[in-house]
Amino acid sequence: MGDNQVEIDDRARSPFLSWGETALRLGLAILFLYVFLVGVKSLETGIKSFGEAFVSDLFESVGNPIAGLAAGILATVLVQSSSVTTSTIVGLVGAGVLPVETAVPMIMGANIGTTVTNTLASLGHLRQGAYFRRAFAAATVHDYFNIIAVVLLLPLEVATGLIRRIATGVADTVGGLLPEVGTGSSPVKSAIKIPVERFEEAIDSVGAGGAMGAILLALGIGLIFAALWMITRQMRIVMSGRIENAINSVLAKGAGIAALVVGIAMTVAVQSSSITTSILVPLVAAGVLTLQNAFPVTLGANIGTTVTALLASIAADAPEALVIALAHVTFNVIGILIIYPWPRIRAIPLFLAEKTAEAAVARRWLVVIYVVGLFVLTPLALLLLL
């Protein structure tokens, strides 16, 4: 190398974040985390206001595990965010209107439903055959992993309640250690309750007390949606440099535990598995990341996204909220332990994704059938039939 110690002048660069902006965006993310928790609390309070009879009728239809699974898929496809769905489920369980055993299949459905985002992202490459084949395989490998995990674990859960039992055991331990996520009162829980009580007073004062439940429910879902969107936006901007480095490290180290950890870290950082997996799709499409190396990052995203439900459980009063949040973690961890460590089993979702992508390239109309069939028609049919 030459002796020149020249550095490129700052004028050439994009405007990167200053310390002040980083601090401001982190502050905003924390503020919106608070708004998110207030949203979960509003939802929980709103649901409680409906009365037990109405709510038990409402959730009777998803009492069947398959119907619960279908509802989880459809709800997540509709809102394009498993974090919103799982937070809502945590709120419903926290309100005591949705039993944990009914919520577990819905959480599994949310896992499947969230993969629609990166599948849709892969369609951007539809015009270029080889690019599209790789992109579609990168997207559908997540679908196949989640479907296989559900096929293996849902019957086991229905028969033995394994996931629920593990989650309950962990919840008992964690709840005792950390009152914020347990049943006890805490400054965090108190701080979350204050604005919700003000909402109730405001709704009463304008004479809309009769619609209290509906207003709080709508407000809760709205706040969850907006807060998660804002947290994700702020954190993506703040963390993008780190994410770039993390992906570079995946490229350097290849598949394995490191890639899995990168997937977890990236998803926890931006609070969205869809962002993590959608970033992988163009990289696999361009050929710089192999499907095999992207796969563990995807699995890490599955675990990382469970943090949102864990955070949501802070706002809930009932200990079952923490149980369902931990059930989400348990389901994903067991799924990975069953599939990823064993090369022959690990090869199944990869094989299915590659074959599906090859078929999709040969017949583009299969893409429409795949997306609409898997994410809309099948869950809708299951929900209507059961």
């Binding site: 020149n4 490129i8 002048d9 050439a12 990167f16 703040v238 440099g241 780190r242």
Partner: protein, 226 residues
């Protein structure tokens, strides 16, 4: 506390890599000329050049990957123009490395300009190109628009001059063993100079006019007090 959240500035890494590539080209040109001017062991210098060339190619591929990751992660916040510029600059610098290797190939084929009747003329051009690489590296690194506006016309004059030499040797009645290496040498230094000019256009020209310098179409430099 905020260190774990600090923007790791991927483009800064790319910029450093581009400057390292530029520096490697300086070395490559020096080694290639020392070989063809009979000042060093051709094989030994060839090994060193080979190693530099591999590094240049490797760095170019790394830059492409890093830019792709940068664009994918940043999405709408991506500075797409800067990414395209860096992609093009990396290609130009990599090509300079290739032409340096071509000059060394002349030495490998037994050409030695030491003691030649036109040694002084060849030496003058060698020094001029080495100087241009140095000046270009500085102008690019400092994003010095004024220096670029001076350098590019000068490089154009030089390349026209090298073209004249090239045509002269192509049409020469001298034996092929004399004319051909010189024609090739002038061709190579002309291409090195042209690629240097291309990298410099990235400092002053809009992205669509990259490699196509015209002062009247250049981006206005920011005034100091604006």
């Amino acid at each position: 506390m905020f260190s774990i959240f600090r923007d790791a500035d991927q483009l800064e890494t790319v910029e450093k890599q581009l400057l390292e590539m530029f520096g490697a080209c300086q070395d490559a040109f020096r080694l290639a000329c020392e070989a063809v001017f009979g000042e060093a062991d051709v094989e030994e210098w060839g090994n060193r050049l080979e190693s530099i060339d591999k590094d240049l190619n490797k760095t170019e591929r790394a830059i492409r990957r890093e830019l792709l990751i940068h664009g994918t992660v940043r999405g709408a916040e991506t500075d797409l123009g800067l990414m395209l510029v860096y992609m093009a600059v990396a290609k130009d610098i990599e090509r300079i490395g290739d032409y340096c290797k071509n000059i060394w190939n002349l030495a490998q084929m037994g050409i030695n300009f030491a003691g030649a009747d036109d040694h002084r003329e060849l030496q003058k051009h060698r020094e001029r190109v080495a100087e241009l690489i140095e000046l270009s590296l500085s102008a690019f690194g400092n994003q010095d628009a004024d220096a670029v506006h001076e350098l590019i016309p000068a490089i154009r004059d030089d390349t026209r001059h090298y073209d004249d030499h090239l045509v002269q040797f192509v049409r020469s009645d001298r034996p092929g063993s004399y004319a051909a290496p010189r024609a090739l040498f002038y061709r190579y230094i002309k291409r090195i100079s042209a690629h240097l000019a291309n990298t410099l256009t990235s400092v002053v020209m809009p992205v669509d006019r990259l490699d196509f310098y015209k002062k009247s179409k250049a981006i206005e430099p920011e005034s100091e007090d604006s």
